[in-house]
């Protein structure tokens, strides 16, 4: 097809002419309209729907502050600590503000993403046809965890150093290749300058590239199928005369002004922390990290930053005695699949094989290895949600009331795991963590059954909306 220049009248304003010139060569207007300007979103969004935009905002804050930090930071074991504490915090004008925004931004990112995921869980946002949005989201979450982990080494404080040491050592628990693998990751026998340089590279370029790609995919997929809403109804099933869903409104200007308000409130809270409590009582910036890394002095209590602690607790809960309970759990679960699931026999056979291998593994391999496996699975199991949830309705609003309690118990177990992860372990705490680990995995693994049980409420055909 021959190239056609978009026509505008000769006396049109320059801006309009310029836009026409661009639109003939690049779909700028189309892009804006499909991604936001004329993107129709359900009008019944509530409080929970602000966190997507806020996550985007924090991503921008992290990138912009990160660019400025890299201008002054030195990824060198001898210089790193001083480049943060002397150069950035004292010598560079406003360096302290940029650094606090970045460190607070890291924690804020996790708070927002956890709330964003909670929304997805409550309203079934991951259900068909939004499985890919959810999977891209899980990918983003994994990238975020990588960013946080690699970035935490960079200030080169004691907690940076020993946190990295502990986590990299975990890979050593993998049978056969473990020790070589952790050596390969570190690039040295202990965490050292080589480790710092590669972590810097991952933190500032490798993972951000993947992260940005996934964010773009997340948004494109969302704007392709359309947003879900608190009622869990497909608004596209009721179109108006103009071809747009009756219960939807264009994102611009309605959700633009909505999000600007949300951003203002978020920045207010964010600033309270940045300006008045940047350490956040040792949870955002740990006291131990104000001591330069020392490979000869192990701190008495090494705890990861708060956002990793639920998963870290699961790792620690997996002791050699706990393996017995895990084995019992696996036997019961495989039994349940055989008796109670409608899966094809091929899948059932697969479950039997995996269950058998796990049990053999439990009693031949180190419990620490299964701790690592459980920690990994506790994050990646989120990807299975679209296929684990068999509820006939999407939103929690129309589920049986007792389902709400299932979510509450799961949420509390998650928070308790998080709390225990920052505390030094003891026997009683370990027991609580083990119970919570069972609740955590039970929630997901038993979901195909419990999510379909009970009396569901009738789902309305149109969304609930009260005019403001």
């Amino acid at each position: 097809m021959a190239f056609v220049e978009k026509k505008v009248s000769a006396d049109a304003p320059v801006a309009e002419k310029a836009l026409a010139w661009i639109d003939s060569r690049f779909p700028l207007t189309t892009l804006w309209e499909t991604q936001w300007g004329k993107y129709y979103a359900p009008k019944n969004f509530n409080f929970w729907y602000i966190f997507g935009s806020l996550a985007m905002l924090v991503l921008v804050i992290q990138i912009v502050t990160g660019i400025f930090l890299v201008m002054h930071y030195k990824p060198d074991a001898n210089l790193a600590f001083a480049s943060v504490e002397t150069t950035i915090m004292r010598d560079v004008p406003w360096g302290w503000l940029v650094r606090y925004m970045h460190s607070t931004g890291a924690s804020a990112f996790f708070i927002i993403v956890y709330l964003h995921m909670t929304r997805g869980l409550l309203y079934g946002s991951y259900r068909k046809p939004r499985e890919l949005i959810w999977l891209f989201g899980v990918g983003i979450f994994l990238c975020l965890m990588g960013e946080a982990f690699f970035g935490y080494l960079l200030p080169w404080g004691q907690m940076s150093y020993w946190g990295a040491q502990v986590i990299v050592n975990l890979f050593g628990a993998i049978p056969f290749i473990g020790p070589e693998l952790s050596l390969w990751i570190r690039g040295d026998y202990v965490v050292s300058d080589a480790t710092l340089n590669r972590f810097f590279s991952f933190h500032v370029i490798a993972i951000p590239l993947v992260l940005l790609g996934l964010v773009a995919a997340h948004l494109i997929a969302l704007h392709e199928v359309g947003s879900s809403n608190p009622d869990g109804i497909e608004v596209k099933e009721h179109l108006g005369a103009d071809g747009h869903p009756l219960d939807s409104i264009p994102s611009h200007p309605y959700y633009t002004v909505h999000d600007i308000f949300g951003v203002s409130v978020f920045l207010l809270i964010f600033s309270v922390i940045v300006f008045f409590a940047p350490e956040m009582g040792g949870y955002f910036l740990e006291a131990n990290n104000f001591i330069p890394a020392d490979s000869l002095k192990t701190p008495p209590h090494i705890a990861p930053v708060w956002y990793f602690t639920p998963f870290y607790s699961i790792l620690r809960a997996t002791t050699s005695e706990f393996v017995n309970f895990l084995a019992a759990g696996v036997v019961l679960y495989v039994g349940l699949i055989f008796v109670k699931s409608k899966l094809a026999s091929l899948w059932k056979a697969l479950a039997l094989v995996i269950g058998g291998l796990l049990i053999i593994g439990f009693y031949t391999l180190d419990a620490k290895f299964f701790g690592v496996v459980l920690m990994g699975v506790s994050v990646t199991i989120l990807a299975g949600l679209p296929w684990l949830d068999h509820s006939p309705v999407k939103s929690i609003r129309y589920r049986p009331d007792w389902h709400k309690w299932v979510y509450v118990v799961f949420g509390v177990a998650f928070l308790v795991l998080g709390y225990l992860g920052v505390q030094p372990p003891n026997e009683a705490r370990n027991l609580v963590a083990q119970v919570c680990t069972f609740i955590y995995f039970g929630f997901f693994l038993l979901m195909p059954w419990w999510s379909a049980m009970g009396t569901f409420k009738p789902v309305p055909t149109r969304v609930n909306f009260k005019a403001h």
Binding site: W96, Y254, I260, F261, F275, G282, N426
Partner: protein, 261 residues
């Protein structure tokens, strides 16, 4: 409105339940820690921090560096450059220099068994659940006592078997421990350190020494983050601006959503 109140009550109950749970979990641990004295607040007392800076360069900077701190930053405490040059510049000759020391880490290790830590951010590093970093330093610097079993002849209440000798002993004097015999849980008598008392007086009495240490700790806290004061001042303005912005955007949002039926 009723719905909103119900939700509010629900959230409140949930929060209380969480707090209760945390308390229970904390009791499981039965946490015990060193009791720290509360350091007097010196953050708005420039004169006190100036006195503290003098104590710091005279008594600390011989063995401890503060390698993130430049001498001329002391201007923020109201000390002019000439005074810095004349009275405080011990380890260097340029006011823009960092507070480094000439003692070699290897020698320090041989003399004290450990390299004296850099003190630039020590007040921030010593934060713990027992108390703030300044609380720790305030208690620590007043907790030295004579202990002939130690190589330096000194021990400390909050840092058992510390490698550091009492640098301020001329000021405080020499404290001796007073032991009491208490019955332990198993019924056996335990020889326990009860408190310290001055055996040889120093140039200061107890009150004067406490004030001097508070000044020094105030200086260390300031040095840990010289921008903290600016941060707080600026923060107030930022919050006022954002509060106004939030109000305006709230009304802007409402005016658009009025028309959505």
């Amino acid at each position: 409105m009723v719905d909103f109140l119900k939700k509010l009550i629900g959230v409140a109950v949930f929060l209380f339940a969480i707090i209760g749970l945390v308390k229970v979990l904390q009791n499981i641990s039965g946490g015990e820690g060193v009791v720290l004295d509360h350091a007097p607040n010196r953050t708005n007392d420039l004169a006190a921090m100036q006195r503290g800076s003098k104590l710091f360069v005279n008594y600390c900077l011989g063995c401890h560096a503060a390698s993130s701190m430049r001498y001329n930053r002391l201007r923020d405490l109201g000390i002019d450059e000439d005074t810095i040059k004349a009275n405080l510049l011990f380890t260097s000759d340029k006011v823009g220099d960092l507070m480094t020391i000439s003692m070699q880490p290897k020698d320090a290790k041989a003399w004290f068994g450990v390299v004296p830590p850099d003190l630039s951010v020590i007040a921030r590093a010593k934060d713990s659940e027992n108390g703030s970093g300044p609380d720790y330093l305030y208690t620590y610097l007043r907790g030295f006592y004579k202990d002939d079993t130690r190589p330096t002849g000194w021990n400390n209440l909050v840092f058992n078997n510390v490698g550091m000798p009492h640098a301020l002993w001329e000021l405080q004097g020499i404290q001796k421990p007073v032991y009491v015999d208490v019955k332990g849980e198993d019924g056996k008598l335990e020889h326990k350190l009860d408190h310290l008392e001055i055996a040889t007086p120093g140039t200061m009495n107890k009150e004067q020494y406490d004030v001097a240490v508070a000044d020094l700790v105030g200086y260390l806290e300031w040095m840990g983050e010289p921008t903290a004061h600016l941060r707080h001042q600026l923060g107030v303005w930022v919050l006022m601006f954002l509060g106004l912005l939030a109000f305006l955007t709230w009304r802007l949002n409402a005016s658009y959503w009025k028309e959505v039926k």
